[in-house]
Symmetry: C2
Subunit: 223 residues, 2 copies
DNA sequence: CCTCGATTCAAACAAGTGTATGAAACGCCC
DNA sequence: GGGCGTTTCATACACTTGTTTGAATCGAGG
């Protein structure tokens, strides 16, 4: 069966590419793991690069299927939408429990996009960004400038992404707690949502009082 | 002059390693750029790995010298300390103006630490972490648990790091504005500080009222 | 049973990798 | 200027990389 070997190679190539990246992975390593001949990668995929590309594509679609985009009832409160949104992002990023190879591969592509799958990544990120901006529309005063909205959005996704990107140092800095359930996705999502909602509440007051943020430094409020 | 060639190799190796990483860089490439023989790397450094290690070390120290750790007058208010801290982090991360190769190299090490310079990275990160926790001690109610303090600290550094890590997508999502001065380090620092202070204000009230965060979902406050 | 296309395989290929070698060139002190 | 340790150089080495090749194997149709 030709399909059989192809699938076997996909299954094996995914995690390896995710761990070592495109350049760090050798076709011999993949073939050995899949128990096929080295010539297979060229026969079935036409080269290492095509195999990689199709693997990323596969990861994209599997991820999409396993963790569908955030969704909420039409009558949901904005704050609830935000919690759902953050939870979804965290689930995608941290994996629900264990970290799937799909996420690691996509994250790797996100940090240093291979020229070939940059469009794929845009397609992956853009809808989530639009979704978040929609939520912020409901949470922030209408007078809020685009500039401020963008910065707030980045503050929110920054909090989420940090737990994956700086994972090494998170576990280093706080020790054992990280591995335990003390930092479950639910807990993290609740914290980030609360933190961000409280921040936006404060900022909204300032905005509506005319002290448009970022034009001066009214930071002595919290002492 | 032997020192001359060594320095020339350092100067050239830094940016190349920063761009392509350890594995992606070839000694021939470095030697060609430095206009020295291929044998030089072995003669002067004993191997590619030692050269890399010393390059990272150099980047570490140059960075330390160019952007010294955050410091403030002893009578500074906690909120002012936070602004100074965030500004310093952003300066280190984004470079004051242009992005230096030192930062790119250290960031690369931070995301996937080479086993050899993991201790170096810890030495780089730990003091800043302690500094931030010190500031939070002054800003948060004394009853705040370690767990919550940690999460808040991560929320703050997450906001900062995001602008470097997801740089590709930041400029993608918001378009031209990113390149202009609309997102200067000062502006970003002010936003992140305000955002975080407002968040901590809100959270502090909840904590002192006994609604310890993260144990339930009191998120319908901001609608 | 034979045939023919599709698939697998061992082996080889050319290019590139980090490193080692031994001779040449240099700089300095006597 | 001669001698000598230091530094440079061209070259070669052993190894790995992705890819190619041509023969061997398989599997169904006539």
């Amino acid at each position: 069966m030709a399909d059989d070997t192809r699938i076997r190679m996909f299954r094996v190539a995914g995690p390896i590419f995710a761990d070592k990246g495109f350049e760090g992975t050798t076709v011999r390593e993949i073939c050995a793991a899949a128990d096929v001949n080295v010539a297979s990668v060229n026969y079935h995929f036409g080269g290492k690069e095509t195999l990689y590309l199709q693997t990323v594509e596969l990861a994209h679609q599997e991820r999409l299927q396993r963790v569908p985009p955030a969704a909420w009832p039409s009558d949901a409160l904005p704050a609830d939408k935000l919690l759902i949104f953050v939870t979804t992002i965290l689930n995608r990023i941290l994996g629900e429990g264990n970290i799937g190879w799909e996420t690691r591969l996509l994250m790797r592509e996100m940090l240093q996009p291979t020229e070939a799958c940059r469009p794929l990544m845009e397609e992956y990120v853009r809808p989530q960004w639009d979704q978040l901006m929609g939520i912020l529309d409901e949470l922030l005063p209408t007078v809020t400038t685009h500039h401020v909205r963008h910065q707030i959005a980045f503050s929110i996704v920054g909090q989420c992404l940090h737990y994956r990107l700086a994972n090494e140092f998170v576990s280093l800095l706080i020790g054992d707690d990280w591995q335990t359930g003390a930092y479950s996705v639910e807990r993290l999502a609740q914290h980030i949502t609360q933190f961000s909602l409280a921040a936006m509440n404060g900022l909204s007051e300032m905005i509506q009082e005319g002290e448009s943020p970022n034009l001066q430094i009214p930071i002595s409020a919290a002492t």
